[in-house]
Symmetry: C2
Subunit: 212 residues, 2 copies
């Protein structure tokens, strides 16, 4: 398998952690990508091979062993999980599985808001919208509060909801323009302190993407 | 099941078509939502119940029979497919299944670009970015060209890739600020002329969302 990758993308970090937790990381060839800082508001020059594999031209993109490109991080997680069976990051029980996906979608909503803010902040100042940034910040607050209330479901064997929540909280810590999620949320603060010690979390700590 | 819904959202149309094709539509209670036109750049007043069910506060949101909210259209499709078994919109064969998901992700990338353009065009003119609109338009062109090249995979029993491609092409037709996808793409033009005759497509033709 091949993975178009950068160290800054939270969606890419999510699949990189999933691959590690599933024991598949060594079977994946990493294709590093570079992004000019205008990617948020202009079509950048794509790393060769990326747009040819996935016309959405986005990371993460996984190319499967059969040569099939998958340009969506949720689908990539599902594919890796199928390849790794009987290992799995998805609960077998019906209710537990959909409870996991419910929380996964909330955590993924944080990632989307974080990336929307990042793209907005890369815009020239004259077309930057403060109310758009506030909207995304308010979405993150609602989702963090929901994770705090639901932290009991972030327990047990590692799953895709835990991984996505860990990535969302890690990104919140990494970007200096995002706020500290801990005040008022002691339960996810404690949960994250423990979860972030996992080797797959430590090996994937975010770094700036090379711009050339 | 309950579905937070509007007639304008292509992601909601996708799950509405999937539910119809799976024979589940009658088991879903529709919860219509309203959106003020500033939704793209400001936190709007949410329809009561929406943000409480899904803190991302977005449509479609499905609440399952077990009371579990799912706030992501791909996960909603997966859930409906599981509920409807043995009916399914997902091929059983491994390679056919991932080929379907590959095309699904390309078509879904068109929906994301369309909605990103819609949100941008709702912004006040002074913070609207023409290059952002161009970026999304160029993404749609790449994805449409890929669908044209891959149209042979949009054949056979109806599946989630066909549904998503149908919704993407239908939205392209509906919004007057989007371009006609047909010139230079005779194969998807012909495919869509046929696919759009399906009852599930005709029963879900897009209409403006009520603003209050």
């Amino acid at each position: 398998m091949q993975l178009f990758w950068t160290p800054a993308s939270p969606f890419t970090r999510k699949v990189s952690i999933a691959a590690r937790e599933l024991g598949l990381w060594d079977r994946i060839e990493i294709r590093p990508t570079t992004w000019t800082l205008d990617w948020g508001y202009r079509t950048p020059a794509f790393t060769p091979g990326l747009a040819e594999a996935n016309p959405v031209a986005r990371i993460p993109t996984l190319v499967t062993d059969e040569g099939i490109p998958l340009g969506d991080s949720t689908l990539i997680c599902l594919h890796l999980d199928e390849v790794a069976r009987p290992k799995s990051l998805i609960p077998a029980d019906h209710t537990a599985r959909w409870r996991m996906w419910s929380i996964y979608a909330v955590a993924d909503g944080i990632l989307e808001a974080q990336i929307a803010m990042r793209a907005e902040m890369l815009r020239p100042v004259d077309v930057r919208s403060e109310s758009f940034l506030a909207k995304q910040r308010e979405r993150i607050v609602r989702c963090l509060d929901a994770l705090e209330a639901d932290v009991g479901h972030l327990a047990g064997d590692v799953d895709l909801a835990q991984i996505t929540a860990g990535v969302a909280l890690g990104y919140q810590d990494w970007r200096e323009w995002l706020f500290d999620f801990r005040p008022g949320r002691p339960r996810i603060a404690e949960w994250y302190a423990e979860f972030s010690r996992r080797p797959a979390m430590r090996e994937t700590e975010p770094r700036e993407t090379p711009t050339a």
